[in-house]
Structure formats: C-alpha cells, structure tokens
C-alpha cells in the first residue's frame, strides 16, 4: 500500500481503537433507547450519563450543563440562534470576530438578514489575536452575546479567552466560545474562563463523527433548538446517539489524560517543522501566532505558488494536507481567516496547513519537508509571478 502521511488532523482525526471498542457494544448488544422504562434500556441510559459526567468534569462544569448534539456546527447554530431568540427583547447586538468558523459566521449572517440582529465582526491583529480594547469599544447597551472561538481552525491561534470572559462578565453579557479545535488540546475550565456556552465536536479528538455537545451554563435561557421529545432535559429532542456519546466520553477522557505528554511532543514536532520549512524554503511566512498556537497546527504561505497545486502534488506523494486557497474553498476568494490577518490575496492563495498528531514521526516530518522543498521549487519554476519577481530582483 502507498505510504500515507496524514497531516490534516484539524479536518478530522482517526477514531482511536479504544474509542471504537468502547462504542461497539452499544450497537449490537446494549442498543436500548435510553428513554425506555425497562431494565434493558437502563444500560444505555447509564452509558450516556457516564459520558456526560466525564465531559462535565473535564470542563469544570456540572453534569446537567452538557447537552449532546450531532456535532460542532449544530452546537454553534444552537448557541447563537437560541440565545438570540431568548434575549432579543433585551437587545439585538452580537459581537464576534472575522476569523470564526463558517458555522458561526453564516449563522450570524442569517440572524442579521432574517432575524434583525446587528452583528459586529471584530478585526484581529496580524497573528490572528482579538484586540481586547476593540472588543470593549464594540460593546453597547444592546449587546447580548459575545462569541469568540477558543482557537482558530486554520492558523491555530489561541485567543485570550479568560480576558474575553472577564470583559463579558463585567458587562453582564453572555459569552459563547467555539472550542471545536481547542477542546482536548488545551486545558479549559468554564468557571475560570467565565464561559457561558461552549461548542465542541467528537471527531476532532479521536472520537467518532456525528457527535458534539454544547455546554450551557445553568441559568442561561437558551431554549430548545430541535423540538420533539424530552431528551437532553427537554432542550434537544431526538433519541440519543448512544454509541457516539459513549465514544465521545471515551475520547474526551483519553484526550485529557494524555494531554500534557501528547501536546509537549506535538509542540516539539510542530516547531521543528515550522523551523525547517521557513528556513529551508525561501519566500515563506508562518501564519498565526508562533507561541499562542494549537500544539498541532502549522500554517505557512509560500509566495508565488497556488495552494491547490501544492496539495495535489503532496497527495501524489501520499501526504494529506489542506490549504486556504480559493480553489479549495469553492469560491474565488481565499480563506477569510488569512485575509483577516492582512495577507494579500496572492499570498493567501499559496497557504498550506499541516495539522500533525501524536503519531507524526520525525521521519514523516523530514520526508514532508523534502517533498515540500521539491514541489515548491517545481511550481515556482512554472509561475509567472516568480518569473517577474526574479527578473525584477536581477535589475
């Protein structure tokens, strides 16, 4: 079989074998519906309760503040839409950032266009960090919600969540954070960080796809978003995805238990890759904050070349990666995140994101660097932008 080097762990991760093992009995043996009264179903019910307890304890939350969803996007939609509906009599203003995931940005656009919301999209600095003074300035008496992602999915920048939580608390505004990339990667405590709502997704931390949760602090009035049965304390109807929930609980436990050791290893490998690529390939830049950064994220722009070409050539060498180029986004514009940190379009088109895992070896890293060097050189030799640049610098 062709060698596969998977460096797209921000897209999704391999489901850990122990997670699959924990899930399996809930398909074929303990398949009862947790809402049923008979003894057989109580096994399923207990499994859901246990997973909820695990996740709550990881976050420093109470068990009845964790609501399972079908994933991160649903949790984001729920947090924004239901909070807006519940609090719009108090005010119609939401503050978020320009670098959020589309699950937040498109939901905000919907609320603006269809529900009369006013949304402020905060700028970020050149490393992708929210400017706290601008956040304070944006607050009005109408502001009901601040939603800032914990860590960015493209450039890996970690936001000053604690400070943002403090500002929200001081102004008595609800604070939601999309922690899809951060949960299980960095320590999070909802009390310490004054987080009122938090979205997360199972498949980013070696859990299964199709499961996520929304943490809702007790007292926040966001009501049901999916109407129907009385599951999830009447706030999220639908028969529980028991195997998914079990898998997520197992994955969360695993992620937290191994966090310190795993992320130390990843940070070392991340910085090794960043250093080699940015020093051995000319005309490159690291995107995102060099320190306040997810342990597994590398995002580098290569001048004069386009990202999709780079991805296809890496794929031919068995390397899975992603890019912020327009060609991979289905539109003519490159990544909104890269534009928000001030990159010109042509540099944003030439970006490459590598998201490593604990399984990424030094041998893999060295192979990837060698391939990148060759491919970038080849694509530059075909690039009219590089030709013009070289001719100009000869003069």
């Amino acid at each position: 079989m062709k060698k596969l080097i998977y460096l797209d762990n921000a897209a999704t991760t391999k489901t850990a074998p122990e997670v699959v093992e924990a899930m399996l009995p809930y398909f074929t043996e303990n398949y009862g519906n947790p809402s049923s009264v008979y003894e057989f179903a109580s096994v399923s019910k207990k499994a859901v309760t246990d997973a909820r307890e695990t996740i709550a304890s990881v976050l420093g939350a109470k068990t009845n503040e964790i609501y399972f969803t079908a994933g991160g996007s649903e949790a984001d939609n729920w947090a924004l839409k239901a909070t807006y509906e519940a609090y719009k009599s108090k005010g119609n203003h939401i503050i978020t950032t320009k670098i959020e995931h589309h699950a937040i940005l498109h939901t905000c656009e919907y609320l603006e266009k269809q529900r009369g919301a006013r949304v402020t999209y905060l700028d970020v600095d050149e490393n992708g960090v929210v400017k706290l003074e601008e956040l304070e300035k944006a607050i009005t008496p109408e502001t009901i919600l601040i939603s800032v992602m914990f860590a960015n999915n493209e450039i890996g920048t970690i936001q000053p969540i604690k400070e943002i939580g403090m500002i929200a608390k001081e102004h008595d505004i609800l604070f939601h954070t999309d922690a899809v990339q951060a949960f299980g990667q960095v320590p999070i405590n909802v009390e310490e960080y004054h987080i009122d709502m938090l979205s997360s997704s199972g498949h980013k931390i070696n859990g299964p796809k199709g499961i996520g949760f929304l943490y809702i602090r007790k007292g926040v009035k966001s009501r049901s978003f999916i109407h129907g049965g009385a599951q999830e304390r009447k706030r999220r109807a639908g028969t529980e995805n028991v195997p998914g929930i079990v898998g997520y609980g197992c994955a969360a436990k695993r992620a937290v238990e191994t966090m310190e050791k795993r992320t130390a290893k990843e940070i070392e490998m991340r910085d090794y890759l960043i250093k080699r690529i940015t020093t051995e390939v000319p005309y490159t830049r690291l995107n995102g904050d060099p320190v306040k950064r997810l342990p597994n994220n590398i995002n580098i722009s290569f001048q004069f070349i386009e990202g999709e070409s780079l991805l296809i050539m890496l794929d031919m060498d068995g390397i899975c990666a992603s890019s912020g180029s327009a060609c991979t986004s289905g539109s003519l514009d490159p990544s909104h995140v890269l534009l928000a940190i001030g990159l010109p379009h042509e540099i944003a088109h030439g970006s490459l994101r590598l998201t490593i895992s604990e399984e990424t070896t030094k041998e893999d890293a060295d192979y990837v660097v060698e391939r990148i060097k060759k491919i970038v050189e080849h694509l530059r030799s075909m690039s009219p932008l590089y030709e013009d640049f070289m001719k100009k610098s000869e003069k």
């Binding site: 070409s309 060609c327 289905g330 030799s381 075909m382 009219p384 932008l385 030709e387």
Partner: protein, 147 residues
C-alpha cells in the same frame, strides 16, 4: 475530481517555460483570484506558430489547461489557433469539474492575449480577434445566497 488527462497534463506539463524575444506574449488572470497564465508565441513569416510556451500560477486545472492549450496551438496557423476555444481545451482534457471551467476560459484568453500582442507589435489584423479582457473574472455572477 480530475480526469486522467488533466492529471497527466498537471503532473507532466508540456511546453513550460519562456521564449526569448517572442513574437507575442500575453498574460491574463489576476493573483487576487488565484490564477495567472502567461503564454509566449514564436510565429514564423507564414504566420505559423512554431513554438509556444507557458507559465501559470494557479490550481491543477489552470496548469493542465495551459499545457493543453499550448499543445493545441503549436504548429497551427494563427487563424487555426483562433479556433482553439475553451471548449476545445476542455474536450481535449476529457472535461473539467464545473468549478474549474473558468480555467479553460483563461487558457483561451491567454492565447488570444498573446495573439493580440503579436498583431499589435507586427501591425497586422487577425480576423475575429478583439482586445482581450485584462481580467476574465469581470462580470462573473456573485455567489447565490443560501438560507
């Protein structure tokens, strides 16, 4: 997502490079949208395209369409080259995904831009050739909104 022919022309692009003192050279597209093509033509006294080279900044389809376009015009007269449309380029590549059709338009436009430059610098008129647009994305429809 790409046909074998597209992949072949992307992996082994034909006629990459520059021509010194070309008869005509044309550059189209813009870096903002992520694709730029430059085509060099070497045209003899009988108005036959002796040689054709390209350089492209862009995705796999942009490289493949440039490569195929140079193959299709090489050895042709300039009138025959005028008949190399974006559809001809696409057909020769066994098709392109819908989102990549603009790459073939860019390739057609690049040939036309190089021919226009040749016509202007040699004071001739080429039947059916109009001044190329500087940006092929001009007038493209905005994305439809989904709600």
């Amino acid at each position: 997502m790409y046909s074998d022919k597209v992949m072949d022309h992307f992996q082994n692009p034909r006629n990459v490079g520059e021509i010194e003192n070309p008869s005509g050279v044309g550059t189209v597209g813009n870096a903002k949208c992520g694709d730029i093509m430059r085509i060099y033509l070497d045209i003899d006294d009988n108005q036959v395209i002796r040689d054709c080279k390209f350089k492209t900044f862009g995705c796999g389809a942009a490289v493949a369409t440039s490569s195929m376009a140079t193959e299709l015009v090489k050895g042709k007269t300039i009138q025959e080259a005028m008949e190399v449309t974006n559809k001809a380029v696409m057909d020769a590549l066994d098709g392109l995904p819908p989102v990549k059709v603009h790459c073939s338009l860019l390739a057609e436009e690049a040939i036309h831009a190089a021919l226009w430059n040749y016509a202007e610098t040699h004071n001739i008129r080429i039947e059916g050739l109009t001044k190329p647009k500087s940006d092929i994305h001009e007038g493209e429809d905005e994305e439809e909104e989904e709600y």
